[in-house]
Symmetry: C2
Subunit: 446 residues, 2 copies
């Protein structure tokens, strides 16, 4: 039953033709016959907005497709799907809102855009009948958005946690493997193209926070701003911490954790370097891989892993979104694909609140560099006790450089508020040589 | 923007009201408001076919919903979605074909049905405009069908492999942990409800083979019959094998492996107990969990894990299918959801062949129980050499029960054909006490 009629053409506009845009272009070309056969439609990239039309490119684009204003692409009446692959949150926001306000379909890989402007963007989609797909925004090619939105639709999610930033995971993996300092490994990551020239967004945890906000929206229907999260990075971690982790069977991973308490109706997102038992699958997700645990009340714990970034993995996700977009163009009224998306439980929009730091309880590993003088341990212990931080174990040892000493403590469950006050008190204590290094001790049931 | 208009009702017929059927019923009831809100439709279970209407049930069903003939449900013009949750391949086949021939949507969890009759079922869907969803048929609640069909649509799959049977994984995990024999742990699994009274389908590898055939169809568009696969189970594995595995840093897992060679256009499915390095994430998937590695040419290697069976995990997958079915009822013409599904590359339907055993190359661990007499190692070595099986390492030790000796060999890459001939030769050798235990040595690149 081969259809002889000609296949409908889907006109795609690319905004941004960098690493990801070129990957999408290439894979769509290479597999055009496959997609035509699988989807019954022909993908056609009919317009490409680039920053500089005069620039020489490896890919030989028909010059008549090119323009320099992405809004031209967004507003072009011929274009049905706008792929926003520029990055940034200003022009990208304008482009996405323009396309949605025309009822078009938007596909984006832009996690920062969704984190900061997701509410406005989804409202625009709803208002104008537009649709937005964003599989590539979290965890590269792992179909985690589709899993949360569709595959696990029967579930409420008390806990979602994982490694969402490949750069940090590369650095932590290689610090452990090679026994080298953060600075040395960061340079290596930059040389290999795994870290940006300005690494701050990655290593300070913000990229993970942006991605976590998207997962939290899908799971709980609420956009949590980064101001309401607890976000810490990996810059302060040293080989001393890896020695401790190794001794007690832990990995150190930068984890984003989305916790929902259904009884008190509280939601919290934290991004923190965390000790997790080596026996956990997540602890063995190394190199640039991402890994996400999703705990659903019906399905139990499920886990997803794959490359978190890169041209091909991201292109794989963008193309999956394009395929879903075809079903919308073919007349699907699936509310999960549209601006109508409303993944919250009934009547919870107003009651769901973000937890305060006083409500969030964790166990901690704390390493404090101190002067090697009498009474210093008592001083440190007093600071903890004054803040109500209860000590589970203590280890004091000579500093590795021979100048000071190191005190490593683990705590019982303590509020984040108490921990933060404790950190402040350390800052004003003479015999403490530098800000303490804090690692959350991850205790996940599964 | 709450809609005040009444939501459309979707009429569902359940065929089978056992463990899974009751789970689906319960979760649909408990979360009806959520689904209504997310999907814009009301799910209504309007008919339930049971084996015995007189049977007392924990769930209090309206007796007017019940019938004993599942074909009545399949043919009921009011019913839009038929959930086949009976199991078996005879009546289930009739029910599914009847529903599809009326252009209805079928949701099934029945892997054996799809493995044996998938071709006929998909043809019926295509012919009559029916649709078939089967997320629950493989790996419980893990949305692996959706990942292969939609999330990874940009990819060709050279390799898909994983643990697809929770019963076998429970047995292997506990044999290793508890140091007990297969028989003891099998009894434990039966007591805990993790193994059926007749365990053959699980422990002999057939359940994994059925599931692998479904994944292979999704990935390569071809139904491979179990006759064309290499299927081995776990009954012969002993603590001697675990001791060896432990010594060399391996786990023993029953793996289903789907290999596609795009150059020679060959496809092969094997289900075999396999040694895999403990450093692999898959090696650490324990207990009743399933885990699947999917290697795509665009996305790279992705990995999925979750509970492989059970009332809730299966219900989670069935409900995800019901949600997708709503998009079909709402007018989606997404070819991926319909009988039009044709996941093959263009012009490959005819050229794609299943590999012969002569073409499939593996490394093996072979343990042979022999009489402890002079010349026995030479005899064993000669059998291997006569069959062209090249030895990589040998270890001979006294038998654990003091009567015979054990020879443990590992081989270089050898064809499956040679291995099978070697096994036959062992059978006719006097000094070999029992059939050799074979474990494939898993070498996966990622």
């Amino acid at each position: 039953m081969k259809a002889s009629k000609s296949k409908p053409t889907v006109n795609i506009g690319l905004c941004g033709f960098g690493v990801v845009g070129q990957g999408v272009w290439r894979h769509l070309k290479e597999k055009s016959e496959v997609f035509e056969k699988k989807l019954g439609s022909l993908f056609k990239i009919s317009r490409v907005a680039v920053r500089d039309m005069a620039k020489e490119r490896e890919i030989d684009l028909d010059p008549s497709l090119l323009c320099e204003d992405p809004l031209e692409v967004a507003n072009d009446p011929e274009i049905q799907i706008v792929c926003e692959l520029m990055g940034g949150t200003e022009i990208a926001r304008e482009v996405v809102l323009a396309a949605l306000s025309k009822g078009k379909i938007v596909v984006t890989a832009n996690k920062a855009l969704l984190c900061f402007h997701g509410k406005e963007i989804f409202e625009a989609a709803r208002k104008h009948g537009g649709h937005i797909f964003f599989e590539a925004s979290v965890a590269g090619g792992i179909p985690i958005i589709k899993a949360l939105r569709e595959g696990l639709i029967a579930n409420r999610f008390s806990l979602i946690y994982g490694i969402l930033n490949g750069t940090c995971n590369f650095i932590l993996t290689h610090m452990e493997k090679e026994g080298q300092s953060y600075e040395v490994i960061l340079d290596e990551a930059k040389r290999l193209g795994y870290a940006e020239a300005d690494e701050a967004l990655d290593v300070d945890g913000w990229d993970s926070a942006h991605k976590a906000s998207i997962l939290a929206f899908l799971a709980h229907g609420k956009w949590v701003s980064t101001d309401e999260m607890l976000v810490e990075g990996i810059r302060e971690i040293t080989q001393e911490d890896f020695a401790y982790a190794n001794k007690f069977g832990y990995s150190i991973k930068l984890l984003a954790v989305i916790t929902r308490d259904f009884e008190t109706d509280r939601l919290f997102i934290n991004v923190q370097p965390t000790l997790i038992s080596r026996r956990k699958v997540l602890a063995n997700v190394d190199e640039v891989y991402n890994g996400i645990c999703v705990c659903g009340d019906v399905v139990g714990t499920t886990f997803y892993m794959g490359e978190g970034a890169g041209q091909n993995a991201t292109a794989s996700a963008v193309i999956a979104d394009l395929a879903d977009a075809v079903s919308v163009l073919n007349g699907s009224k699936h509310p999960l694909f549209s601006g109508e998306i409303s993944p919250v439980e009934p009547n919870e929009e107003n009651s769901l609140k973000v937890s305060t730091l006083g409500e969030v309880m964790s166990k901690y590993y704390i390493r404090v560099a101190v002067m090697d003088i009498p009474g210093v341990l008592a001083k440190v212990a007093t600071i903890l006790s004054n803040n109500g931080v209860s000590i589970a174990s203590v280890l004091q040892q000579e500093g590795t450089d021979g100048t000071g000493a190191s005190i490593v403590l683990t705590t019982h469950k303590t509020s984040e508020e108490a921990i933060q006050k404790m950190v402040k008190d350390f800052e004003t204590t003479d015999s403490v040589l530098s800000p303490p290094v804090l690692l959350k001790i991850g205790e996940f049931e599964d």
